[in-house]
Amino acid sequence: MNAKKMSVTLLAVILSVAIVFAGCSNSQQSGGSTDASGKTTITFWHAMTDVTAEAVEAVIADFEAKHPDINIEPTYIANQGEGQNEKLLAAIAGGNPPDVAYFDRFEVGAWAAQGSLEELTEFAAADGINQDMYYPFAWNESSYQGKLYAVPTTTDSRLVYYNIDHFTEAGLDPNNPPSTIAELEAAAEQLTKKDGKRFERIGFIPWYGQGWLYGWGWAFGGDFYDPETNQATANDPKNVEALQWIADFAQKYNVEDIAAFTDSQGTGAMDPFLSGQLSMKVSGPWEVSAIEKFMPDLNYGVFPMPTPTGTDHTTWSGGWSVVIPKGAKNKEAAWEFLKYFGSANGQKIFSDISKDFSVIDSVNEELGFKEDPILKQFVDILPVSNNRPVMTQGSLYWNELAGAVENATRGNGTPQEILDQVTQKVNNELAKE
């Protein structure tokens, strides 16, 4: 091969490399463009599968029908939620985010503080979107320091499911389920059947399913965050009491035996509550569709998470929202979609198919969620529901509290010590900002 030929080959190599790189950046920018016909395409990242995916497709179809000038390009991006949003994180940092992202509401505060979400306050004010439309906790979670960063879409709440047949068999009154912590403990004891180290049936496991410390802390009357001082209050005496109760429970039934039991359980049809190995379980409204699907004959009911006094029952709610990531190309068109998704219209289409609760009370009523004897109780408690603190360290706090329950149940320190440490660690991080 002569020198000239080689140079030509080399040039070709370099050119093709350059084209590949150019191609990469091009394809990433393809979202958010206006084509010749004046139609705007906006990209939308979400992590929905199964029925929720069908639901969101229906919402998009209806939106596109009403806005012929906007075309939505949905892309499934796995693993969004509970702080696992690294793809969106990288896209925003790289300056090539989607125009809209489906977003776990409890992360809004942290991401807004990082300047990674577009502020929506002005859009909302111009279009008359305000907090009166939504449940208070949903609006709280969508805002950070008085500014709006997300439009809420769905929500949930947590109650205790109980197996009515087990109650009857154990001599408990199924029409009068536990209301105080003491009653809950007594019922759990009566329902549990233990053979050596093995549980044949277990009455209740406070931390199983949706039994996060947030729920128990609020049930005991504690609180986790003081927005005035921007301080975490994990070691609130009431929270310590709640964790102490959980730790005592773990000790009473031997936590390693419970772990052997819970580790043997699956999800779906193998869920221990569905298979009759667990008599009571904290869970959300989604459990209803799972029971309908896998165990339609299950005779069950729900009751609010018990409190020490048997009054002031409460719960907490999470849920999703839609956001415009910082640096999105088509903010106006994206806002149109956000507004529509958060409107009564969009909510009705979405919640009707997905069976997720809407953040709009009237939609839940219209869809008949308030008539279903089980779902009714989940909806009814929403007005007094709590939301996880809107703060910059939401993910860290969540992890720390989950770790606190693990450590307390395993006897690694007293609840007071553990929660003091959590408080200190989270406050140290909060102080750095």
């Binding site: 772990a259 052997a260 039991f261 360290q393 770790g403 693990e406």
Partner: protein, 304 residues
Amino acid sequence: MQPTESTPTLKKNKEKSNYYGLLFASPWILGLMLFYAFPLLSSVYFSFTSYSILQPGNFVGLQNYKDLMNDDLFWKSIYNTVYFAVFFVPLSIIFGIALAMVLNIKVKGMAVYRTVFFLPTLVPHIALAVLWMWLLNPGFGLVNGMLHSIGIEGPAWLGSETWSKPSLVFMSLWGIGQAIVIYLAGLADIPQDYYDASDVDGANWFQKIRTITLPLLTPVIFFNLVMGVIGAFQQFTLPYALTKGQGSPANSMTFYVMYLYDNGFKFFKMGYASAMAWILFVIIMVLTAIIFWSSKRWVHYQGK
């Protein structure tokens, strides 16, 4: 052609081919600089800042390193990682050599046996994690089932603070096919003459292993030791998949790189995570240096 004339041409040709060599390697060199050297060196700087990926953050000096020294979970993750390395690396060497020796015996169908032992290595880590979650299931897993049949009540394995790390060691030992292949190559490299000579001297099998096989296998052991230590300190996929990123129970499965990842991508603390990465680099560097330094005393190369 006169030699006096050809010398400059040769020199010119050599220069030219150097130039072409560099040109042809340039896409690769460029890529290495851009996507490897640059991020690597940037992370040194980031480790002194409060960089959060989304925001450049401020220069905080040694604050990240100081905070790490007071971070309980950081120490816990080091403990977990060292625990794993201390048990896994020697065990992998012992099992690796033992299996390689067995697989080196000349019997019919050896190719099949070798394949059988190598196969687990091909299983992706996530699949391996799911598979072992079933095997070690405390209620109806095969492992506890077998223990039960001989009258032992098995522990909760992955659900137990005491047994979670040993479980991980078992799982990892299942996938040492790669090391076995290297040991096999090392075994094949030992000349038959030594064994023949020892037969003449009347050595038994144990003496042969102790005085011929093991000493001549030391270069390969050395290699696997270094790679094993590095691999053990970077343990991530298996425990992350097993615990869904939680490191449960009670952080007994929170390994160093898992905590690093959480800090960088979950808690917006990329600066802190960068500091962790450099501490890990120093730890691995020091350990590797110690192994290299000690190798003069115990590694025997053939032909020396």
